[in-house]
């Protein structure tokens, strides 16, 4: 099954990239705030039960994909 893991910096963790992009958008006249940059990880995970596949993806987050000091993730089974 297709799985998408979205990794975002936790609230309160400084995101200088987001800040720089926000300033860039301001430069074009866009009214925007709280720009945060994250990472999308798409993958195929064997299995047909969405709950089971999601559990596998969660284990991957804990082992490697996410550093809990600074990041949090959400998992979508597509």
């Amino acid at each position: 099954m297709k799985v998408r893991v979205s990794v975002q910096l936790k609230p309160g963790i400084l995101d200088p990239q987001g800040k720089a992009v926000e300033q860039g958008l301001h430069g074009f006249g866009f009214e925007v705030e709280h720009v945060r940059i994250g990472r999308l990880i798409d993958m195929d995970v064997p299995g047909t039960d969405p709950a089971e596949v999601k559990a596998k993806a969660l284990a991957m987050c804990e082992k490697l994909l996410v550093n809990p000091v600074m990041e949090k993730a959400s998992i979508e089974v597509l």
């Binding site: 963790i13 400084l14 200088p16 990239q17 490697l64 994909l65 550093n67 000091v69 600074m70």
Partner: protein, 232 residues
């Protein structure tokens, strides 16, 4: 004194570590490819070098932390063996859970290379015992991700247990945000684990110990290690 220097694809300070420990200090220093599963027999110090292991993919140090040799580095640390991680080596030790915290992108978003000053916060460690508490020394930094970050509660714990080994400071030892090059919390440049045998730091003491190449501000760390092993 036997030193092992793990070498990952993308390590680029491994030769600095080999030069400092081998040529300058005269220690028996052995590079160890990351695919190896065992450190050399009787390794006393593991020096995890700087660089861009695995191209900094995913997060700095995240993939190197999974390399086969790291399991033996953890075993070495669990048995009380010394581990020193510099720059990317520090990032790897955090990702391997040998040290707490994470190194985020510098606040300025820029790669910074500069000579900076550090203040010794712990002078009772195997890595600092030849230095004085509060002593100031100058060493270079060269990194884009050195912004040390920890959950606020864990940061309080780290400070309370004396986990901070080195802090960025002014040339006279003053502490303050003005002297922190990368935005690191509490100006933290180097930390040590609870047991005191694993130290990670962003600055490069190994790049400042050979008088033929320039200043020798980093010598205190190596003198301390030499004393530690003479005493043992």
């Amino acid at each position: 004194m036997r030193v092992a220097v793990p070498v990952f694809p993308g390590s680029n300070c491994d030769h600095d570590a080999l030069h400092a420990c081998g040529t300058v200090m005269g220690w028996d220093t052995i590079p160890v490819w990351h695919q190896e599963t065992r450190l050399p027999e009787n390794t006393e110090l593991v020096f995890v070098p700087g660089g861009f292991s695995y191209g900094d993919y995913l997060r700095c140090g995240a993939l190197a932390a999974l390399a086969p040799i790291m399991a033996d580095v953890k075993r070495h640390a669990d048995h009380g063996g010394l581990v020193l991680g510099v720059c990317n080596g520090f990032q790897i030790l955090c990702e391997a859970h040998l040290l707490p915290g994470a190194l985020l992108r510098n606040e300025s978003l820029r790669f910074i290379h500069a000579d900076i000053h550090l203040r010794v916060e712990r002078a009772d460690l195997p890595f600092t015992c030849a230095m004085q508490p509060g002593e100031v020394f100058q060493v270079p930094i060269a990194h884009a991700e050195g912004n040390f970050t920890l959950d606020p509660a864990d940061l309080v714990d780290l400070e309370a247990r004396g986990g901070v080994a080195f802090r960025y400071c002014s040339p006279t030892g003053a502490i303050g945000a003005d002297h922190v090059p990368n935005g690191a919390m509490n100006g933290i440049a180097g930390i040590v684990n609870l047991r005191g045998n694993v130290l990670g730091m962003m600055p490069h003491p190994e790049r400042a110990i050979d008088p033929k190449l320039g200043p020798t501000g980093g010598m205190g760390v190596f003198r301390s290690l030499a004393e530690t092993f003479t005493r043992a």
